[in-house]
Amino acid sequence: MTDTSNVAVLDDDMDFAPAKERAGAKAAAWGGRGLTVGIGVAAVLTAIGIALWAVQLSGGMVQTAMRNLDSWGLYITMFMFFVGLSAGGLIISSVPKAFGIRGFGGISKVAVMSSIACTVAAIGMVVVDLGQPLRLWELFAYSNLGSPLMWDIIVLGTYLILSCVYLWAQVRAEQGKVSHTALRVISVVALVCAILVHSVTAWIFGLQQGREMWHTALLAPWFVSSALVCGTGLVMCVAAALRAAGYLALDQANLVRLAKLLAAFVLVDLYFFGCDLLTEAFPAAGGLAVVEMLTAGPLAPFFWGEVVLCAVAAVICLVPSLRTTPLMVAAGLCAIVAILCKRVQLLVGGFQIANIGLPGPVGPMTVTGWESGMAGAYQGMVYWPAPIEWGVALGVVALAVLVFLLGVKFLPLRPQD
């Protein structure tokens, strides 16, 4: 058993004494009408999403805006995004435990819950993107273990289970049923898994020799750093919201510490961003098209959006006088939206520049903006989601929210009273 008495800052996460006092007691269900309404709304939106998904499958994915030359869209963008959010949340939660350092005020379980919800969303996004979801079982019968997508399925599945185990372990540890060491081990595994899950997600794109914008070794570390940015932002927002709702008490100092971490992560992410841009631009060769597309072309709003939002978040988090709760929440939101912009840049950007964009016959299935011909289709963004995609995606998000809110209502996620 680790002797933590000499550690300068004691992580109150690991001090389970108060919880032990409630040993055996079931966690009290929490929340009033507001939460119930929230759950209801989330459930309804989820149901609508499922219905729309059924419409998508029966009427055909032609109802989406995806086409042959831009064959991935909102769903895979959101998949990347939610894996990032999820991994980030879990990393925030597990690093303190893994390294035995001070945490963030007992929000660890909430963070893991949010992470689980995001994982559900991520898996959901992949499922609704599939053309033949009923054949999902084939992933386990015919697995091609060389495929990054297969790795991601495996790791994501493992990660979901692990997150649940981790959450369960934290709860049991508080009740004294799981040892510190065991928890430590689980948190290390969780941490590794979280990093792995987002690296593997990155490798779905980064290992592709066919798309210059994606094919960089930097992509996996970059995804991890982006995950940390949006994950931290999410945890900050969730924690602040739950505190405002009276669900938990959170020392402002912990929020500030999260904010400072966010700033650090943003700066690292921007650093990676800069490295990639410079590497693409310097040879003044093929990569220049990518840079031009991002900075001045169809994806410029998302590029500059990310830059500005990251800057705002960093400034807020670094300037002490700006670190008020509302502003820090804003910073968290900015961070989340910034990373969403990043996902859009990556996904749409990968299809925005065709390797072989020569003029030829263009029909309704060729590319989203087909009526304008090959050249015209690439003038603006090659892809923008269709209404049904928004609806289905919203349903998946609603499902994640539903999972989270149900967890908040029924699971002992609160730090000790």
Partner: protein
Amino acid sequence: MAETKSGALTRRGFLKTTAALAGVAAAGAAAPTLTALAAEYGTGQVAGEGEQLVCGVCRGNCFGQCKINVHVRDGKVVKTSRRPFNSWPEGGAWDRICLRGLSHPYTVYGERRIQYPMRRAGERGSGQWERITWDEAIKEITDEWKRIQAEYGDQAVAYTRGSGNLASINGVGSPLFNVLFNKINATQIKIARDQANTRGINRVVGSLGDWVLNSTQDYINSKTVFVWGANITDAQAQDWPHVANAVEAGVKLVVIDPIYTQLASKADLWIPIQPATDAALTLSMMYVMIDEDAINKPFMKDHTVAPFLVRSDTGKFLHMSDLGVAPREVPVEAQATNIDAARSSSVNYGATGASAGAGTKLIDPYAVLDADGVVKAVEDATDPQLEGTYQFGDVECATAYTLLKEEVMQYPPEKASDICKIPAEDIVELAHIALDGPCIHRLGWGSNSYTNGVHAAHAAITMAALTGQIGYSGAGTGACNWNSGSGTNMLLPNMTAAKNPLISALFLPEIMRTGKYMGKDHPIKALYVYSGNPITNQVNTNEYLNDILGNLELLVTADYTYTDTVHYSDIVLPACHWFEAEDIVLLTGAQCYEYNAKAIDPLYESKTDSDILRLLAAGMGYPDLFPLTDEEYCHKILDTPALAARGISFDELKEKEDLYYKSTKPWIPWAGNSFMTPSGRMEFYVEEPELQFDMGQEYDRDREHLPRYFNPTEAYEGSPQWDKYKLILLSERPRFRVHSMFSDNKYLRELDPEPTVKINPADAEARGLADGEYVEVYNDRGHAVAKLVYNDAIRPGCMVYPKSWQMSQHKAGCWSELLTSAYDPVGVNESYFDNLVEVRAWKEA
């Protein structure tokens, strides 16, 4: 590579490739033989279970007429593929098919198939129809014809066709139509297309057919192939592999065309000529040849009318009889018909051909100047002089060559350069290339499509007279080789002679307006259209609708698919598709008679043209007019002594599926320099121009004696329409259709969805028009709306539209509205490109 003008594609619009040099690319290295099969995987088809491969012929007017397999499975045509020619066992690029021939599952089963006879239920062109039975339809048609003939005269019933089905029992090659319509003394209306080349060339060398040139297989024997205004790769695609073979073997390809076509992109030399100025270029090339004294004098002396003296008073050749020498009567033997001499496409099969029987003929020699200055009969002169004058009483005579030279000397390269917009030094270079023979000169429908087209062809064939490059391997001048052979019999039982003259479709608007033809009453009140779509394809649509249709009491169309002409008809009859009847095809690009077996039964209520004619004959009171079956008619046509002597008969054709009908392989016309002119020589000086159609129209005979350049009617800077319209409107025959055939084929529409018009970006930008926007092309005659396509291949000052979109496929208007019905009085040819237009953004009303 120059930057293109589009936005996002500029950086990545090019191919990311690196050239990999493998081995040494030896100059002139020949590719492996094109017919070598892969070691294990062969070409061809294997019939699946329950599948038959029926011998068929795909036969639109694309100059291909490819022999194909019609794959039938469960009684349906599921596929087509090329079927090997037995007449060309070596292959040699005769086995072929194209994207249109491959798309037949749709042409047979498409939505616009006419299923049953219909009568219009609303106004003409309203698209409202009621279904009627065949009996009702035939009765109504024939009752109307009888009424109209009683009221207006027999000639008031007219019939016409396009070029939709090139077979000889059903379709445009069928004499059965003449059997019926001659019997009822109807008026045959002939389409007037692609004839300017024919007029210009045939008046110099005589007729072996309408479009005569060395077989494409012979191009490989040339030094240079000149292609004048022919977009071979798209419009006569099946000729391309032979051109490609020639190019690969080192033959030089020179393409003369205002537009940078696919063919031009393959050429060694592309000459971007100003539209309608081909004659000026050719005349200037002749100038260089004469100026450098590089002309082929022995050939000119022996095989052309160059030394013949021409009387300045009559414009005709001087004969010895003029000098008091009496013509001699000599016995002649019955001449075997030249088996390569094909009929013109502008004939009524009821016309009795004059057979060259045995007997006597009068010989009245042409007069020439001998070296000793004495005028003699050309046969008696030892060294006829090419140049010289002779005073015949008070009539000055000059040799035809003297007169030609006078004309040609007016076109030095500097002057011709101003006309055709080609640098003078390029003209000189072209002349030198043409002198370095043997050369083939192939004329397309480019220069042919202006009212000065006859002279462009006349100039080209005259140049062949100066170089002597004609009638041997690798040497020739002509309008591509597409013609039949002789020896078939079109005088079917009950065929009678036509009482009314053949009338050109270009005369029809005037006849309909005035009710007169050649000064006499000739009202026409009924028209029967088969195998054609004149409302889409004929020039000046609004004139057609107002003046022709507006004066018709009855328009009947027989077709297998719903065309614009069907849309405007009063009664529509469902004709069956090519593969739904047995037939023979006697005019093919492969120069073989081809057999088409029946693959499936006629769909819906459709009937063959022959059955429709039987019903119409019965309705007109002649139930026994067609006593034979279709198969018996095939025998009648093909079982002739002349063909039997060459092993050709219908049974033979059925068994062998294809039989070559020319005398040699490859076929080289004018071999031995035996020209089909009165003098037997190349008559570049034309005594009396033959009019394509003689309606008594006025023409300038003096102009026609020799080739010369003069402006077309409209398509030139400074023409009467120039102040309003500044763009010359050209069309192309696109790969996706054959005229208006296949225009509704959905497979092909996926590749080519809507009407477009191509423009040079500079012209578009000057008018503020963007790539891809809908524009209205207009002039005084009408308008057409299409999608604008930027294309640097288009000569500034021109626009090019892929032709024959049906009216119903445009947002408004249609192409033929814009086209002039003005015609050259000699050529009487639809001048498709002789038009000026302007273009603006399309604002929907």
